[in-house]
């Protein structure tokens, strides 16, 4: 039941004829051990395995250590590293240019949940096809460790004192804002991260993955929900997730009755969710909210695909655009014909 390549290829090239190196970026300048680095590595793997052509991906980010990540993967993709907290608008405009390319945005918890709350919420409701990864560490890494809006209330950090406010839960926010793909993961669980990224890439619409990504330098306190230690101890996956490309056949018979749920994505690929402790239905928003609340109360790190709705229209569908990329339209197709001018002037009265 594992992915079975249909085309023979050299051991180290994928079906796009590319090597893993073709998906890499510049060497990371983040701290050693930073969660963000492991996520970059999984992005590289996921895209390599998905056989995506790097030129058909565009990267976006805001400002922060996390927002630097796009430098560290997919050297051969266009990228725009914008201003703090306002990546969604930039991505929205840019993706209109050529809707055949796929956007991936990397943001931080400060970038998304503090300064970026407004744009984050609004890009959700627009259902922009964008993989939106939040590398969530509860602090502002790049400015040296102040609390972000996702820091737990009561958390004490040496230099910062104690966090006074209840945290923002990025997944809840995405759910309420009608995001169509919402997942949480943990940088310490690379396999899950990778499978979620693959699924997100196949999703038609906004796909949010909130990844707990420890800041080893400023916020790796073992008792904190944002630390490696805590995550390793308390991760509670909703299911074991695997992504199966459209071309592969799934033989559910291999599995015990009822032990697996599948969700077919827009491009025909399938997300397979293997039941763990209990069955979880990722198409029910309120169940997702309930589980998140329960997990928060108990300080469990609930991970997995919380919610997906593969069947809605994207923002592009709602604009009735010409089929070819807008940015390749020739001047003749953009400028109304000369004859129209006189008619228009006649209307000006």
């Amino acid at each position: 039941m594992t992915s079975q390549p249909t085309v023979r290829q050299q051991a180290d090239t994928n079906e796009a004829g590319l090597t893993r190196n073709d998906y890499k970026g510049a060497p990371s300048t983040l701290c050693q051990g930073c969660g963000h680095n492991s996520i970059s590595a999984q992005i590289v793997s996921a895209l390599y395995e998905l056989n995506v052509v790097p030129e058909e991906v565009v990267k976006f980010s805001g400002i922060g250590c996390s927002s630097k990540s796009p430098t560290y993967f997919l050297n051969r993709s266009f990228a725009f590293n914008g201003v703090h907290g306002r990546m969604p608008s930039l991505a929205l405009g840019a993706l209109f240019a050529d809707t055949s390319v796929k956007g991936i945005g990397v943001s931080g918890d400060g970038d998304t949940a503090s300064i970026g709350m407004g744009q984050f919420k609004h890009v959700m409701r627009r259902n922009l096809p964008l993989v939106y990864i939040v590398e969530n560490n509860g602090v502002y890494g790049l400015t040296k460790g102040q609390f972000s809006a996702t820091a737990e209330q009561g958390l004490t950090l040496k230099k910062q004192g104690t966090s006074r406010y209840l945290p923002v839960d990025i997944c809840m926010e995405a759910l309420i804002a009608n995001a169509t793909f919402v997942a949480r993961s943990f940088a310490g669980d690379p396999k899950q991260v990778k499978e979620l990224i693959k699924a997100a890439f196949s999703h038609r619409g906004i796909a949010v993955i909130d990844i707990i990504s420890p800041c080893v330098t400023f916020h790796n306190v073992e008792t904190s929900i944002h630390s490696y230690a805590w995550g390793k101890e308390n991760e509670m996956p909703l299911h074991e997730i695997s992504y199966i490309p459209a071309r592969d056949e799934i033989t559910v018979e291999d599995f015990e009755e009822g032990s697996v749920r599948t969700v077919e994505l827009h491009d025909g690929s399938v997300v397979m969710l293997k039941k763990l402790e209990s069955d979880y239905d990722p198409t029910n928003i309120y169940e997702a909210l309930r589980r998140l609340e329960e997990a928060e109360r108990n300080r469990w790190l609930l991970t997995g695909l919380l919610y997906v709705n593969p069947d809605t229209t994207t923002i592009f569908d709602r604009y009735n655009l010409v089929d070819e990329p807008l940015n390749r339209l020739s001047p003749e197709r953009l400028r109304p014909p000369r004859e129209s001018m006189a008619k228009l002037n006649a209307l000006m009265f």
Binding site: E55, R76, R86, A91, G93, F96, N327, M348
Partner: protein, 614 residues
């Protein structure tokens, strides 16, 4: 009912008639539907071939507050505001006395016979109108009555002034898009009112209109519509916007014309998208993203929105993304007077965002020019790879102007230095593979760019607002920083080649030069005529863009005294000229004024005259 008549003024009416040269103000409350009546008169006059302009002075609310609409009728084609009224149609008791004061001696006052007011002036011609009665007789449905009241004054005025009822019909036909019912119910009342006036009023005043030939080659339009249309002809592909007075109608009229002008004829699908954002930070962010992606992208806003765009515009400036920002100015600072006009964002727009920045500004001075800059702004932005800010204002943007017909763009689209797959291949061959996003290949400061979707494996680059070198790589190297920023600044020099040149109106023997921009144009031109009559000929240069081009230099050199006329408090254009021409700083005299109303020729006259005397 015996119509109340104005006192007999035979002495006055012995004077020759005043033909096609006066100013009417309609005083109403907003939301009462008077706009239809007012523009109907405006249009009818225009159709009679008489030069007209209409200005709406309205409050920042939706319904029930005083509103004034002024029509200037000018056989000489003067379009500027004048401070006094010749004719007032007073429909609002609360502001009646104020209007009474604004009338010139010998002026005309028209008001409903049931308006609870007292006419305290003897030197004017007052006529009352049986508005209620006529509306009642028209048998209109009750909820339309208030609205229809306005048609009464249309009819009475038509009769008193001699406005052609056929033209009024044409105007209604246009307004109601041929809908027979609507046209007729309005027209019938107008006709009834005209008849009533004919039978019951004895005209004692001097004002009247006569058909003439003064509007050939002109259309009636507002600057926002013109800008929208210009942008559509300019091939705009993406608009991110957020509503704000007085800019909203720019994108709103664009929406109206998309299906006609920008649907693919074959597939019926759109070649552009308009996205209403959640605020201005997002609106400009979207536009910058789109501009970066290779779309002709724009946003439009007014002062407060421009302030919110500061950070993002700095990014576009430094990453060299073409984007067009229309700032339809209103009175600031802060929320200020949202429904009044100003030219107060000039300095801010020039230097917007922290650090060293410098923006290309376009300064339309007429509605036709709003159309022109609507398309040309994209050519300039894409050519220079930089944000272009177009400074319009409320007066230009929202008022109906008689303006030259729009002309089809006289230049092919300039998409600037964009490399698609094959272009890039050639470029790489030519440069032995050394292409880089920020390399100044041509020595004009403008690099080449590729855009999203380009599948060439060498096409991609990383765009960032942090320090970067010629290949787009992150860099904190002091020399690299300086080099790149200096090259960007160089584009401001290169820009001069692409800037719309100023319009120069010379007069013989002029010693004083006037420099101005934007919607103050009619007031300045009219003042020029007045001054010339009084023996003070002035040369006039109307700026159309910043950076300043050599003509400006030249103009300043040729005049010992320059009067910089503008509609703001600080003399912001005066500031920018001083910075550009410190060597001539002392020649530059500021004549700045802002109270929310368009400048009058009289005010400009006084400023220049007093400069002359200095």
């Amino acid at each position: 009912m015996q119509p109340k008549q104005s006192p007999d003024r035979t002495a006055v009416s012995n004077l020759p008639p005043v033909v096609n040269d006066f100013c009417i103000t309609f005083s109403t409350v907003n939301g009462s539907g008077s706009a239809t009546a007012n523009t109907t008169i405006l249009r009818a006059l225009f159709r009679m071939g008489i030069p007209v302009s209409g200005k709406n002075i309205f409050p920042s609310n939706i319904k029930g507050l005083p509103t004034w609409y002024t029509i200037r009728v000018s056989k000489d084609g003067y379009l500027a505001r004048v401070a006094e009224d010749d004719i007032v149609v007073a429909m609002n008791a609360t502001t009646f006395n104020q209007e009474l004061d604004s009338l010139v001696p010998g002026g005309v006052l028209l008001y409903p016979d049931d308006l609870p007011v007292k006419v305290t002036r003897e030197d004017i011609h007052a006529y009352t109108m049986p508005v209620k009665q006529l509306v009642k007789e028209a048998d209109a449905p009750p909820k339309l009555r208030d609205y229809l009241s306005n048609m009464v004054y249309v009819g009475v005025l038509a009769e008193l002034l001699g406005i052609d009822l056929d033209k009024i019909y044409d105007a209604l036909d246009f307004h109601f898009k041929g809908k027979k019912n609507a046209i007729d119910s309005n027209f019938n009342l107008i006709q009834a009112a005209a008849n009533w006036a004919k039978e019951n009023l004895t005209k004692t005043d001097r004002y009247r209109v006569e058909p003439m030939n003064g509007t050939d080659g002109y259309v009636m339009a507002d600057g926002n519509t013109a800008a929208a249309l210009g942008a559509l002809y300019g091939g705009v592909q993406f608009v991110g916007w957020y509503p704000i007075t007085p800019a909203s109608s720019l994108v709103e009229s664009m929406n109206e014309y998309i299906s006609e002008l920008r649907k693919d004829p074959v597939t019926g699908k759109n070649t552009m998208a308009v996205v209403q954002a959640e605020d201005e930070l997002s609106a400009v962010g979207m536009a910058i993203g789109a501009g970066w992606g290779g779309l002709r992208a724009m946003t439009s806003t007014s002062g407060p929105g421009l302030s919110l765009m500061a950070e993002y515009l700095g990014l576009a400036y430094y990453t060299e993304v073409p984007v067009v920002v229309w700032d339809v100015q209103r009175v600031g600072p802060s929320t200020g007077l949202p429904t009044r006009t100003a030219q107060g964002d000039l300095t801010f727009a020039s230097f917007i965002s922290h650090g060293d920045t410098n923006y290309v500004l376009l300064l339309p001075g007429s509605v036709t020019e709003c159309f022109e800059f609507g398309w040309r702004a994209f050519d300039i932005a894409e050519r220079l790879q930089t944000p272009v800010i177009v400074l319009s204002d409320l007066d230009l943007g929202m008022n109906q102007w008689m303006t030259r017909s729009f002309e089809y763009p006289d230049e092919p689209m300039d998409r600037g230095k964009v490399l698609w797959e094959e272009d890039l291949e050639k470029m790489l061959e030519k440069t032995n593979g050394s292409w880089g996003r920020y390399l100044d290949v041509d020595g004009d400061g403008i690099p080449y760019r590729t855009v999203v979707g380009n599948r060439h494996p060498r096409s991609a680059y990383f765009t960032r607002g942090t320090g970067h070198d010629e290949l787009g790589r992150y860099s904190e190297d002091p020399e690299v920083w300086q080099r790149v920023l200096d090259r960007i600044a160089k584009k401001f020099e290169t820009a001069k080649k692409y800037m719309p040149r100023p319009e120069i109106h010379p007069r013989e023997n002029a010693k004083i030069g006037v420099i101005a921009f934007g919607s103050t144009d009619p007031a300045i031109k009219e003042a020029g005529d007045l001054l010339e009559k009084d023996g003070i000929p002035v040369d006039y240069l109307r700026l159309r863009a910043i950076p300043f081009t050599e003509e400006v230099d030249d103009f300043i050199q040729r005049h010992e005294k320059i009067c910089v006329v503008e509609m703001n408090q600080q003399g912001q254009l005066h500031q920018l000229l001083t910075l550009a021409y410190p060597q001539y700083a002392t020649r530059l005299h500021s004549a700045a004024h802002m109270d929310g109303l368009p400048l009058t020729a009289r005010w400009v006259y006084d400023q220049i005259q007093s400069l002359e005397e200095k």
